[in-house]
Amino acid sequence: MTLKTFGLDQFGFLVFSLQWTILLTVIALVGGGLLGFAVALARTAHLKPVRIAAATYIQVIQGIPVLMILFLSYYGLSLAGFELPPLCAAGASMTIYASGYLAEIWRGCIQAVPKQQWEASESLAMTRLQQYRYVILPQAMRISLPPTVGFAVQVVKNTSITSIIGFVELARAGQLINNATFQPFRVFLAVAVLYFVVCYPLSQLSRLLERRLHAGSSR
């Protein structure tokens, strides 16, 4: 690109790149959600070794920066001979990152269901699987909505880190346009506004769910 000003074309490119940010967020939440759900269940399992393994996983993921997960999956695997396209490396890293946090959030929600609910359902001769399915998880899910949506906001913003390995999402698109226009204030203001447009409704939703949860008491 030769030197240009920040105009409609450039803004269009930002909006286009926002799609990648959103796609990456969806991948992270779906993949991380599935993995995190399994880890959350393992974290509350009967068998102690299973619980310890799950706790270790959570500790490790939460204990290293997302950036390192990203480098490890991108450069590490390519050193080992696997060449991952940036979208795969970015998607895998964000999935792992999200799984560690969602597992911990959901573990808390499962454990927030009073132990009397376990005892009552156990006394009605339910299997552990039935207890989870019909009694514990429906209640845990309700509690989990506000913090889960709140975490989704973090994921949206943290996808910007994948620009480091050359994945062109919203933040990276901003850098590229800035390099071509040298109008950093305008460019990054536009980028910030776009992030805000996605995150603000989510934050509001999280807050709304939280208020509903308190008002609607137990159901």
């Binding site: 609910q117 005892e119 009552a120 001769a125 009694v135 209640q139």
Partner: protein
């Protein structure tokens, strides 16, 4: 054949021995009241009877099942033994009807229409037919406790255990729950109940057991036991309750 046999049961939590060799035998249709100071091991004894707590030594047989088998055997036992707790423990995300139908549906594979009939029947038994579609948080404490009793009854248990089911309730609400239990007793249900309601124990229980320091301190037909306590501990306990 007694419906409940407890033989020399010991139970410890860590170093604390809570049950120190408890034995009792309850015939079919009998009603046993467990009384005693808080901490004397009444709840623990009751919870051992449906396997919520594992015993360290001794033997328990209830409704024709021996405790101590595998998970499947324990579930089988629990389909025949209902328990109701002080804190109701209804499932807050389900309606009254769903609370009652859930276990028969998924544990005993009862067809939906049949489960609904059973739910209506047991709700009528506890006088709450009109609450089928209400949620637990729309009910008073006494109503919730009656639903909890109905939920247990829907499994068609042979033995019912009650752990201080009226202790969280105001006096007026206590009455409505006690009435339900008295009707059950009259219909021939085998019942063991931990209670602070001495009048109720005296009137409804065929036998009353006074527990003290993890042991059965004194036991006898309710009327005789209350009229003429043999040990100073029970005398003291009965006296402190009257005032």
């Amino acid at each position: 054949m007694p419906e409940v046999v407890v033989e020399n049961v010991h139970k410890s939590f860590g170093a604390l021995e809570v049950l120190k060799g408890v034995s009792l035998s309850v015939g079919r249709g009998e009603v046993f009241a467990l009384i005693g100071r808080s901490g004397s091991g009444k709840s623990t004894l009751l919870r051992c009877m449906n396997g919520l707590e594992k015993i360290n030594a001794g033997r328990i047989e209830i409704a024709g099942h021996a405790l101590g088998g595998d998970a499947r055997a324990l579930r089988k036992l629990r389909t025949d033994v209902g328990i109701v707790f002080q804190s109701y423990n209804l499932f807050p995300h389900l309606t009254v009807g769903e609370n009652i139908m859930l276990a028969p549906r998924i544990v005993k594979d009862v067809a939906k229409a049949k489960a609904r009939d059973v739910a209506r029947e047991v709700l009528q038994l506890v006088g709450l037919s009109e609450k089928f579609d209400s949620y637990p948080d729309q009910l008073s404490g006494g109503q919730q406790q009656r639903v909890a009793i109905a939920r247990s009854l829907a499994m068609r248990p042979k033995v019912m255990l009650f752990d201080e089911v009226t202790s969280a309730l105001d006096p007026e609400l206590t009455e409505e729950v006690l009435t339900v239990m008295e009707n059950l007793a009259r219909d021939g249900m085998t019942m063991i109940l931990v209670t602070h309601e001495m009048g109720f124990a005296r009137r409804v229980a065929t036998q009353t057991i006074f527990m003290h320091k993890g042991k059965i301190w004194e036991q006898g037909p309710s009327a005789a036991l209350f009229a003429d306590p043999q040990t100073p501990e029970l005398r003291q306990f009965v006296k402190s309750d009257v005032k």
